[in-house]
């Protein structure tokens, strides 16, 4: 594929144009390419003045990161590695794809070190393109790579960064609604960033009902599975709890094989909830009498977890959504202040097997397929999932 060049539009003060090089991933509603952002001459000059061979660049970059919350990661000549996400035209002939608009709308407003950075947007021949920072790895790849070992400090560091990103979204009253390891992207400096905001939307509006067919099945909270249409921050916190568990187990914690089956899987793992556990659950649209499973102490499954880690994880996986901590509460949990200290991002384990590393910026999945929870070509994951189930039951 020949590299193509596109002029910068809204970020034209900083970048002169973008070069699209090669395809790195594809989803149902977007294709992702890697490429370069070429600076304007003025920007290049500023960059040269700010950097020199004594490594001052790191200082400047770090200071800028502190001040603006957004890291500057450029090559010596001022170029920056980028990902270009090209949104496909919606099939339903409704014009611009709603998910594309949604993702662009949200990323324009959320600027945070733990949220993927939107650099620019441009359109070319009725295709909407988003220029994003380039992130070549995601948490799913690292979890699955058996050659990489995690320590408790590593897990804590990833959880810390995830929760900071989630907190930023919630503080702006935006729910991500598709948190999973595949959407937690990692930079080469080890920073974790939330990605793929195609399902994101605002919440807290009493006039608006939302769809319950959101979040990839294995990470979908019980209230969503029971058809809740007015929900809140807790759906994201449940997903974070599932991710926490997965970091410890190295396999997905509750991998159901269908939407009906997902609830069963959850009940088997955590016990069927009672009215006392979850007041009002009987009023949920898809509620019916469930098979009763006993509650298993999670301590038996998560043998390597420290008590504070287990406490936090359990709280995020409570049935009653209002009892789950907010991202702010989670960050204040003593888990993060106890030893061991979270590993500094640069020292986190990296995916050493480059041949196995997957698609870079996660291309999104069509919302309908999302709800059915297709995990893509994931043979390994499904086998492991069966193994976990066997172990649990």
């Amino acid at each position: 594929m020949q590299p193509r060049s596109y002029p910068a539009t809204t970020a034209a003060s900083r970048w002169s144009h973008y070069i699209k090089e090669k395809k790195v991933g594809e989803g149902t509603y977007a294709v992702v390419y890697s490429g370069w952002a070429i600076p304007t001459p003025a920007q290049k000059l500023e960059h040269e003045l700010a950097t020199d061979d004594t490594g001052e660049r790191d200082e400047v970059a770090r200071d800028k990161k502190i001040l603006t919350g957004v890291a500057l990661v450029c090559e010596p000549d001022g170029r920056r590695k980028i990902a270009i996400k090209k949104f496909k035209i919606g099939e339903y002939k409704d014009g611009m794809d709603k998910s594309a608009i949604r993702e662009v709308k949200v990323l324009q407003e959320l600027k945070h070190p733990n949220v993927i950075e939107l650099i620019d947007v441009f359109s070319y021949k009725t295709n909407l393109n988003a220029v994003l920072e380039f992130l070549d790895c995601d948490l799913e790849v690292i979890i699955k790579n058996k050659n990489v070992a995690f320590s408790a400090a590593d897990i804590k560091s990833w959880m810390l960064m995830t929760l900071r990103g989630v907190r930023h979204c919630h503080a702006n009253f935006i729910l991500h609604r598709d948190l999973k390891p595949n959407n937690l992207l990692l930079s080469k400096d080890g920073e974790l960033k939330l990605g793929d905001f195609g399902m994101a939307r605002d919440y807290g509006d009493p006039h608006r009902k939302m769809t319950s067919m959101v979040v990839t099945r294995w990470y979908r909270s019980p209230e969503l599975l029971l058809g809740a249409v007015r929900y809140g921050y807790a759906v994201d916190m449940w997903a974070v709890g599932c991710i926490f568990a997965e970091l410890m187990l190295r396999v997905p914690f509750m991998p159901g094989d269908s939407d009906i089956g997902q609830l069963q899987t959850i009940f088997r793992a955590l016990g069927t909830p009672t009215e006392a556990d979850w007041p009002g659950m009987k009023y949920l649209p898809d509620y019916h009498a469930f098979e009763q499973f006993p509650r298993n102490p999670l301590r038996n499954l998560f043998t390597a977890a420290s008590p504070d880690a287990l406490a936090l994880m359990e709280s995020m996986l409570l049935y009653d959504p209002l009892k789950r901590p907010t991202a702010h509460d989670a960050l204040n949990h003593f888990y993060f202040r106890n030893q061991p200290r979270p590993t500094p991002p640069a020292k986190l384990p990296r995916d050493v097997d480059k041949a196995g590393s997957k698609a870079k910026e996660a291309a999104g999945v069509d919302p309908e397929m999302h709800a059915r929870g297709k995990r893509g070509n994931d043979e390994d994951g499904i086998d492991d999932a069966h193994a976990v189930r066997r172990k649990l039951f």
């Binding site: 539009t9 809204t10 790191d58 200082e59 770090r62 502190i66 001040l67 603006t68 919350g69 035209i89 339903y92 002939k93 409704d94 014009g95 611009m96 709603k98 608009i101 949604r102 662009v104 709308k105 949200v106 324009q108 407003e109 959320l110 600027k111 945070h112 947007v121 441009f122 359109s123 009725t126 909407l128 503080a171 702006n172 939307r201 006039h207 608006r208 500094p344 991002p345 640069a346 020292k347």
Partner: protein, 318 residues
Amino acid sequence: MVDPTAEASPQPLPEPYEQCSQYRHWKHSAAELQHLRQKVNLKAAARVRKAVAEQQELTRIPAPEPVCITWDEQLQYCQYYEERIRAYCRKLQFDRFVEATALAYFKRFYLRNTVMEYDPKLYLMTCLFIATKVESAHISLATFLENIHKSPSPDMMIELEFSLSKGIRYEYMVHHPFWPLHGFLLDVQNYISSTHPRPAHEHLFQKLQRCYSRAEQFASNATLTDLTFTHMPSQIGLGCLLAAARERDFEKELEQYLASRFHAKLDELVKLRIALDAVADAVVAQSTKPPIAKEAAAAVFKKLQGCLNPEFDPESPL
């Protein structure tokens, strides 16, 4: 030696509102607005004249020197169409968020573009359609076009969507005064409960509620004005409440509330009062302003025919 990878002690990030696109790119003073509109208009006029001249050379059809629209004619013309947007929202039963967002897009687009090159009739539809997507009130394109008078073809809509999106810098999130206004309703309620004795609550809450209803109307009016550029949504919301308070005999209580809430920021409060007065005057003026007459719009339309930029005409040789 400082480990460069260690956690730096957290510096405060900018205030949340400072990160939103509305504040960063779409905030202008009244003077700036006028300057921008004039500049855009003059540049556009130059382009139009040049293009007409070129076309004349190519086609050998003599055409009179184009008499271009002025910036205030454009402003009036756009205001006419903004009122059309409102009418469509009522007809299609879109809520005030969709309406306000569509209006914001329209205003922003024509702040930096000219009606001599972009047809407001087409763009108002586009603003509405995208607004429904952005504000989670999506309807299908087919349904939408059925209800629009002289609607464009679906294919054209997609191109218009892209053109509009580019014109608004792909910054789809717009903040309106409705949430802040509601926030003040709640907070004033809180203030009343904590500073007045119980027996007085009932009466005061009712006054507050009446005040709020009026303020909601003002807030809707505000979205038709330039206030969306010149002031923060929170200031607009509070200004609407103030304007309503003056009408509904609640001003005294509101002043007390402000003095109490901002007792630690008295200098800023003085400046804020000036801003609130400006907002209140603007919304009151808007509510008493008559709608733009159809004839006035028609006149501009006629003039426009003589100064459309041929570069934007698909049928022109350019």
